[in-house]
């Protein structure tokens, strides 16, 4: 069952329709990255630490201890290029710590990892970002007392005006500034924030901050974006458009790794799911298989994972 993907731009509720359209026209699936990734991953075995056909990030023996507790102890982990990989697991499983390690915000006790073939162990966080791996934070970090547009512009690379002396001569950086303003405005437009561009970022709502943080991460056209709980605190309507954005990103060729507790989101957009528990990777596979894995259900999801708890009939069943 390789077909768990979504077509560009369609909201996740329309999945059956999207699937029907695809089955009628098998050619269309191979055009965008979602199709190729699904096809590639179809041959990958569903076991922890499995090798993937075209990994963008490969980690080996990464451990991080806090006192006596091994927060992260990952033997082998690969992220498929152009795919949407979800990292799920109970609280305290080490997901965010793993994020911090991969992006240079924390130093591991042991381990090596390569991003796009380049060794990343003991590379500083700013260099990691410059190589094309950009992250967002679980607790949203926007620069409150800067405007939304300024928040975006800081995300752009290669602005010569960021040199202390060069910044005094606008003719050296005005043209680049125009380019990145155009880029920022088109991203803000996509993330429904264009009207807010001159407001201070501190005046945005929690959900809008999540959007801004994600849009800002995209300013450098990263190869891999790592989103730490992009849906936390976002209202359902915004969630919908965020999901579309993430899928659109994948379809444009960006690889996505995200941590999320919202199982609907994971189920609908992830090409591949990796489950962590107590620092280790305990299961991997396509969303549908992983979520039916008894180990995962026991450790994390619970018996009613696939049922909408808002539905009263569930409660009656439980009783």
């Amino acid at each position: 069952m390789p077909d768990t993907t979504v077509q560009t731009g369609t909201p996740f509720q329309d999945l059956p329709a999207a699937r029907a359209a695809r089955s009628e026209d098998p050619q269309s699936a191979a055009v965008d990255y979602s199709g190729t990734v699904a096809k590639d991953l179809a041959y990958v075995e569903h076991e922890p630490g499995v090798h993937k056909p075209d990994p963008i990030l490969v980690a080996d023996n990464v451990t991080r201890r806090f006192g006596g507790i091994a927060a992260v102890d990952v033997g082998h982990f690969e992220i498929e290029r152009h795919g949407i990989t979800a990292l799920i697991g109970p609280n305290g499983a080490g997901k965010t710590t793993f994020f911090n390690l991969m992006t240079g915000f924390d130093k591991p006790d042991t381990g090596t990892w390569q991003f796009d073939g380049n060794d990343l162990a003991s590379v500083s966080s700013e260099k990691v970002a410059r190589m094309g791996m950009v992250r967002t934070f679980q607790l949203t970090k926007v620069m409150n007392r800067l405007t939304v547009l300024d928040n975006m512009l800081i995300g752009a690379p290669d602005q010569p005006g960021e040199g202390m002396l060069r910044s005094l001569f606008p003719m050296l950086w005005k043209s680049r500034e125009k380019e990145i303003i155009t880029q920022a405005e088109s991203l803000l437009d996509r993330f429904l924030l264009l009207k807010k561009k001159d407001d201070y970022a501190g005046s945005l709502s929690g959900g809008q901050r999540k959007l801004l943080e994600m849009a800002r991460a995209l300013m450098s056209n990263p190869q891999l974006v790592m989103l730490d709980e992009p849906m936390a605190g976002v209202n359902p309507a915004l969630k919908q458009s965020l999901l579309d954005h993430i899928v659109a990103l994948r379809d444009e060729g960006t690889s996505v790794l995200f941590v999320e507790h919202d199982m609907n989101m994971v189920r609908h957009i992830a090409d591949w799911v990796t489950v962590m528990a107590e620092g280790k990777i305990v299961a991997e596979g396509p969303p549908r298989d992983v979520m039916n894995d008894p180990a995962v259900v026991d450790a994390y999801l619970g018996a009613h994972a696939n049922i909408d708890l808002g539905d009263d009939s569930v409660l009656q069943d439980v009783e």
Binding site: T103, F105, S124, S125, E126, K127, V128, A129, R130, V134, R135, T136, F137, K141, V142, M143, N144, R145, L146, D150, N151, L153, I154, G155, P157, Q159, G161, E162, G163, M164, R166, S167, L168, P170, W173, E177, Y200, G202, R216, A217, M219, S220
Partner: protein
């Protein structure tokens, strides 16, 4: 007549070189705190280093511009020495370290073992370092009176020094205006808000912080030169209290605003003089001695500042949405 004296003396502060020196120091501190969020509690240290660098090389007979360059170099070296181990610390620790370092500079400067270089606690007297500066003046010799104020053209607390000091202020304001609105300033403001964001976006936070520390320190060093030119180099006249005056000026005018330091410095010194002079003229010296007036002046200004911080934490022309004292 009495009112006229109060007016003349108070508004003399508006053009005084010391006021300009405080403006420059506050502009430097604004780059540290207003733009980058660095809690530098030792701006007087940069000023004292600048003053020493200038005065010592002048007394050794260096060229005037070489001496200014020496002062700036000292500030740069100090910024790097101070910055590399401390910029990774949180803002409160940076405040402690800068405060302590400024004191170290002052205490080393006044130590007797260095009397041959720094003059110890006696300092360096003006004839050793002001001659070249005074000779550079294009003004004719003698005194001039403009409106109410009369000063020597070239010697010591002169019109020439006033022109140079305020010209430097003008240049500094223009430069900070340019920096403030440039992509470089934008990154500094980003660091002020959250340095981890800047890091996650691929910019070297340490580099930007060092640049900021150096640039603000360079303005501090220039300010130190202007500060000592009308008097002498006295390590104790550039102690902790100067740092706190500079902070007062910055918060009074409004941190993270470009003209805040200018407004803050002019207002503080004019107000202080108005208060002191009025008390001197208006209250019998049997009631309050002149020493007490000196202290009471600061008390009144202090209360006014507390009110300002409580009721207008962004300063007079700051933007509360951008940076307020208790935000």
């Amino acid at each position: 007549m009495d009112l006229m004296t109060i007016f003349t003396n108070s508004f003399a502060q508006l053009i005084a070189p010391t006021t300009a020196a405080y403006v420059l120091a506050a502009i430097g501190l604004n780059i540290h705190f207003g733009m980058t969020g660095l809690m530098n509690m030792g701006q007087a240290g940069f000023m004292l280093l600048g003053a020493y660098g200038f005065a010592i090389t002048q007394s050794m007979g260096w060229n005037l511009f070489a001496s200014v360059l020496a002062a700036l170099t000292l500030a740069a070296v100090y910024a790097v020495l101070l910055g590399i181990p401390t910029l990774k610390l949180g803002p409160d620790y940076l405040a402690m370290v800068t405060l302590a370092s400024a004191e170290i500079i002052r205490i080393i400067g006044r130590s007797t073992s260095l009397t041959s270089i720094t003059g110890g606690s006696g300092g360096i007297s003006p004839q050793d370092f002001t001659t070249q500066f005074e000779n550079l003046s294009p003004l004719p010799e003698g005194n001039s009176t403009i409106l109410l104020w009369s000063y020597s053209n070239n010697i010591a607390d002169s019109w020439w020094l006033r022109i140079v000091a305020w010209a430097l202020v003008l240049i500094a304001v223009l430069l900070t205006w340019r920096w403030y609105r440039s992509p470089w300033g934008r990154v500094l403001k980003g660091i002020r808000e959250d340095e981890n964001v800047i890091r996650s976006l691929g910019k070297s936070v340490t580099k930007f912080k060092l640049q900021s520390l150096f640039l603000g320190g360079a303005f501090g060093a220039l300010s130190g030169i202007i500060f000592v030119l009308p008097r002498s180099v006295q390590p104790d006249s550039l102690g902790r209290q100067v740092t706190f005056y500079v902070w007062t000026i910055l918060l009074l005018g409004g941190a993270a605003s470009i003209l805040g330091p200018v407004l803050g410095s002019c207002l503080l010194w004019v107000l202080l003089t108005v208060v002191k002079e009025s008390m001197r003229e208006g209250i019998s010296s049997n009631l309050i001695s002149s020493n007490q007036i000196e202290s009471l002046g600061w008390v009144i200004v202090g209360v006014a500042l507390m009110c300002l911080v409580i009721f207008r934490p962004q300063g007079l022309i700051g933007d509360r949405r951008e940076l307020a004292f208790n935000a």
